[in-house]
């Protein structure tokens, strides 16, 4: 059969498969909840600037630490700013930064991982030692050193997150490659006389991709965690940008008598991260991958 004929068939199957996986995810209660939360937050991030009732920068001495009211649904913060507006807007920078950094991290990490997995030998052995060395340092130390040196703008945060969160992906992609290469269908393809590139494209990649998709979802949630933690510590989003991590840090001091300042961003941030994790879990189950969670990194 000429290869031109085979291509549309494969494409069609892929589309069907994507649909099947998605409906499988949606058919699990956790997947349905998770995916709805993620979609809700993504939509909110896009439309929030047009629907917020107040300017997020508007300071008012009269409204300082006022509780929730009919006009200001979530109350006001220590500068009298509307917490409802700020909470709706609070995920935008985090989603933007991690939304760009995650694909970059997964791409370069899996590229190198698959490469090392296929090449093997000395190069692989040595590179894995370097990966180990990077992994043995706490994430916050690696990132903070760069951020403190180069500043906290988006232009620094995105490459920093993309770089450091790509390193563990190398390991995952390499392990997945080793896993697939040992399977019978690869030997079969070799025996059929397919070229290296063809085998990689048609046999290896589709199989590794499943693992990488789940890994990508996980990376995203960890990156969000990292970004909001950095914001909380004062190294992520910078004021007056509304950001959940930053809002929680600001409101913490007044928490005993004005807890609404903490609660709104806490609920929003947690719901997004839990949503991503539930989706990743359901996705892993739908694709038949065990998502073994190791210790926190």
């Amino acid at each position: 059969m000429p290869p031109t004929l085979a291509v549309p068939v494969i494409k069609n199957r892929n589309q069907n498969r994507l649909f099947k996986v998605l409906s499988d995810v949606m058919s699990r209660p956790s997947g349905a909840i998770g995916l709805s939360l993620v979609v809700f937050h993504l939509v909110l991030a896009v439309i929030s600037p047009f629907i917020v009732p107040f300017d997020y920068r508007e300071i008012s001495a009269m409204l300082m630490l006022k509780g929730p009211s009919l006009e200001y649904w979530f109350g006001n913060d220590h500068l009298g700013r509307d917490i409802f507006s700020r909470t709706l807007l609070g995920g935008r920078e985090a989603i933007l930064v991690t939304g760009i950094a995650t694909p970059i991290a997964v791409l370069w990490g899996s590229f190198l991982g698959i490469f090392f997995g296929l090449v093997g030998g000395r190069v692989d052995e040595f590179s894995m030692r370097i990966v180990d060395a990077f992994l043995s340092l706490p994430w916050i130390l690696k990132m903070l050193v760069l951020i403190v040196t180069f500043g906290t703008g988006i232009g620094v945060l995105i490459p920093t997150l993309a770089f450091f969160y790509g390193i563990p992906v190398i390991r995952i992609a390499r392990a997945a490659t080793h896993d697939v290469v040992a399977r019978d269908f690869i030997s079969a393809a070799k025996a059929r006389g397919h070229g290296r590139i063809a085998i990689i494209r048609h046999e290896l990649l589709p199989n590794v991709l499943d693992t990488l998709m789940v890994e990508g979802a996980m990376r995203w949630s960890w990156m969000l965690l990292a970004f909001s933690s950095l914001s909380f510590l004062g190294f992520g989003a910078s004021p007056p940008t509304p950001d959940w991590g930053l809002m929680i840090a600001d409101a913490r001091g007044f928490m005993s008598f004005a807890p609404w300042g903490v609660l709104a961003p806490v609920v929003f941030l947690s719901s997004l991260i839990i949503g991503i994790n539930l989706t990743a879990d359901a996705l892993a189950k739908a694709l038949g991958i065990d998502r073994i969670q190791k210790a926190p990194v």
């Binding site: 043995s136 340092l137 510590l233 991590g245 926190p296």
Partner: protein, 318 residues
């Protein structure tokens, strides 16, 4: 067995050596050095010259690296730029506090995680599993500063049961940290329990599906005897590795929790020294934490090997 041990040891040593090179060159390539960071705006002319001479920064990088690495190996980590104190002493104090926090969390977390992990696996997909597995996802994924903040709000601000912040000084004795340490321990133990629980659950489920368990069932061995004699010993081995990773995380990764509770551990020292750009301290902490990471993982691998005869022979045949 001995050659295996030597191989693992040398690999671990190579990793630590690579870390030290990465740390050193990293700091070397970043703009500015310890002196420009310390002197800030006055970093010019005579002052800068003197400082660089005092800290020996004018010698070639390779010389300085070898000096630093060889004295680090015998425990001399140099002096901090800001306080001119011995880093080994500064870090030692904080290390003790971090170890105290880690020890308490392990004491609570590991037995609880193993217990819950086994329970959720044995009653897989039953209500008890759903409750704890979902709780584990929550505990694992909610940012630590969020859970800490909520716990402080509830137990400290509203109920007034526990102090929400640690006010004890860095070099106090272990006993003085109670009861302030309780809330940080709860947060740390929560995250940790969630991770170990999931790992234990997966591995118990794997073993339950294995041929030898099916064999024992077919032979008519009572259920609980199978669980205690066949399943648990095999299923709990992988937990050693997770606990090892957790120990490394407990010492270097709980920065945010330490900041929230104002706990004087290694993590907060790390943040402070990075903000102050006290580079010698940053280098020292990075090296120590990397060494801890490598050595706990190595220990875990060796323990697993000793406990599991199959792995032992597998490696010998290689």
């Amino acid at each position: 067995m001995l050659s295996m041990l030597l191989r693992r040891l040398s690999l671990g040593f190579i990793t630590v050596a690579l870390v030290s090179i990465i740390i050193f060159t990293g700091v070397e390539f970043l703009p500015g050095d310890a002196c420009t960071a310390f002197l800030e705006r006055e970093a010019q002319g005579k002052l800068l010259e003197n400082c660089r001479r005092d800290l020996d920064l004018n010698r070639p990088a390779i010389d300085r690296y070898l000096d630093w690495a060889s004295s680090a190996m015998v425990g001399d980590l140099g002096v901090s730029v800001n306080g001119q104190q011995s880093i080994a002493e500064l870090v030692g104090n904080r290390m003790n506090n971090s170890l105290l926090l880690a020890f308490c969390a392990l004491l609570v977390g590991v037995p609880l995680a193993i217990f819950l992990g086994v329970i959720t696996a044995l009653w897989r997909d039953k209500p008890i599993d759903l409750v704890f597995s979902t709780a584990a996802i929550f505990a694992m994924t909610i940012p630590e500063f969020v859970s800490s903040t909520v716990l402080i709000l509830v137990f400290s601000a509203w109920l007034g049961w526990l102090p929400g912040i640690v006010l004890t000084s860095a070099n106090a004795s272990a006993a003085e940290f109670f009861p302030e340490i309780i809330l940080p321990v709860i947060v740390v133990a929560m995250v940790m329990t969630a991770h170990i629980l999931r790992m234990v659950r997966t591995s118990v489920i794997d073993v339950l599906a294995s041929d030898y368990v099916r064999m024992a069932t077919l032979k008519g061995v009572p259920y609980w005897q199978i669980v205690f004699q066949h399943v648990l010993p095999n299923a709990l081995l992988p937990a050693i590795n997770v606990v090892a990773l957790t120990i490394a995380w407990l010492l270097g990764g709980v920065v945010v929790i330490e900041v929230v509770f104002n706990y004087p551990g290694l993590g907060r020292m790390m943040i402070d020294s990075i903000s102050d750009r006290d580079l010698p301290v940053v280098q020292a902490i990075a090296l120590i934490l990397a060494t801890v990471y490598v050595s706990v993982n190595l220990t875990a691998d060796l323990l697993t090997m000793i406990a599991n005869p199959r792995l032992r022979t597998l490696h010998m045949r290689k």
